[in-house]
Symmetry: C2
Subunit: 245 residues, 2 copies
DNA sequence: CGGTCACTTGATCGTCTTCAATACCAGTGG
DNA sequence: CCACTGGTATTGAAGACGATCAAGTGACCG
């Protein structure tokens, strides 16, 4: 079951210079807790790397030796059963912090969907960083808390929603992606394939496909080229997602 | 939809004396992060209260005005859909900390299964406590992390396991309850009814009942008086729970 | 003893899965 | 230019698992 460990290619061990200063992800990540003056310290604690599409860079069950901060690209996080069944726990994009809730061994696997760049923090250095910058620990607690909320929402979806409701919920969540607290955009691109969506929603590829076709026929959404989505009826979709329809 | 807010009965506002010193839950809770010398400070930040069986003391969607630490009893945590479908997210017992991941409004509801005693920390006082005892914040991060891991495990269960596998997983989890890192005990009592189990596992009462009957017939477990359980075949149950059977 | 409540058991039904075929698209080479 | 290939998505038909509906059992209690 366990896939061979594909080791990431290390690009540049962060040096005394400060690559963090110009990091696109910093604003959106836990690194925002580190003041500008200490960026060199932050940079020296991390190593940046790249994972090619399809590469697994965190393996469930393997010793947890560090933390990850995604600086670009998209990652699927998942758990597997011995017979190959897969449950995708979430998708991580720019600014996402991985490795939380990892006492000894990683509790999930992470695989690059497209080309993924990330910073890797060895466990000990992360510990030291947290000791010096309590604000970062507080930020981490916020992150963990919001992940917990998201996980609970997903438990409701997986345990109690129908296929239609799951797909509707997913589409709405995707439309909100990126646009933090702003207005969700009615047009967006799916970053993952049907298999990913199915394994995220606890369905099969076929059911996802059928459901999407149906939602389109009903005028709730519109899909072109399998990944370009437009929300046509926001409130209709919201009612469906919340089981009010 | 929303149940009328049943306000908890406040027993004693913690005073300068220190009820925390003799608290059974302290060892198992985030309060262990507070040194003995500062127990008075801890006690003055909290108010202890009791929730009668069936009482809802956290309401999803309502303003989050504080945190809870369970000192005795068992609580069901859940989310609901407008039409009444319920997903139980977990059960909280002695030492459990509630209110994490709560920015503005509570993201879940909490209901006492039996008589529940708890300490309530108003938001502001909790904030102050965390500022003064960074160790407590660290402890909170650990708690949040382990809850996240548990939630992810449950997502796998809800999304990808069969009814048999779910029930088997649940029974094993229950047998491990309490006995932290010790050997799981082969005999235990279910603290919740069939409806709770069903709503926790994303099944119906009938399916849970049927499945339990079958597992019993197969000699994997034994149930007496509907709530006294004995594990008869641990490894068989484990194989089933992990989908290896 | 009737009533309630929680659980169990049975019969039928529906949703989603499974299995299988087909469509679609990009890339490759004749 | 077009057949060929491989990967991904769609569509169709049949089947299974769990849900729903309904009845029955047993414990507890006034």
């Amino acid at each position: 079951m366990t896939v061979a460990l594909a080791r990431p290619i290390v690009i540049q061990p962060h040096g005394a210079a400060s690559p963090c200063a110009g990091c696109d992800a910093r604003r959106a990540s836990v690194c925002q807790a580190i003041p500008d003056a200490d960026l060199a310290r932050l940079a020296s604690a991390a190593v940046s790397a790249v994972a090619q599409p399809g590469t697994t860079f965190i393996d469930e069950g393997y010793p947890a030796n560090g933390f990850f901060n995604i600086t670009s690209g998209t990652v699927r996080l998942f758990k597997m059963l011995p017979d190959g069944r897969r449950q995708i726990l979430g998708f991580a994009g720019t600014g996402h912090f991985l490795g939380l809730g990892t006492p000894e061994n990683y509790g999930l696997s992470a695989e690059a969907i497209d080309t993924v760049r990330y910073c890797w923090f060895p466990k000990a250095r992360m510990r030291a960083l947290l000791d010096d910058f309590p604000l970062m620990e507080r930020r981490l607690l916020e992150v963990a808390s919001s992940e917990l909320i998201a996980a609970q929402e997903q438990m409701l979806l997986l345990g109690r929603k129908s296929a239609r409701e799951r797909v509707a919920s997913f589409m709405l969540a995707q439309s909100r992606r990126g646009s933090a607290c702003q207005h969700p955009s009615p047009r967006f691109t799916l970053l993952m394939n049907r298999a990913d969506i199915a394994d995220y929603l606890g369905l099969t590829i076929e059911t996802v496909s059928r459901t999407l076709t149906k939602l389109q026929a009903e005028g709730l959404i519109e899909i072109s080229h399998t990944s370009a989505v437009a929300i046509r009826n926001q409130t209709g979709l919201e009612n469906l997602a919340e089981g009010r329809a």
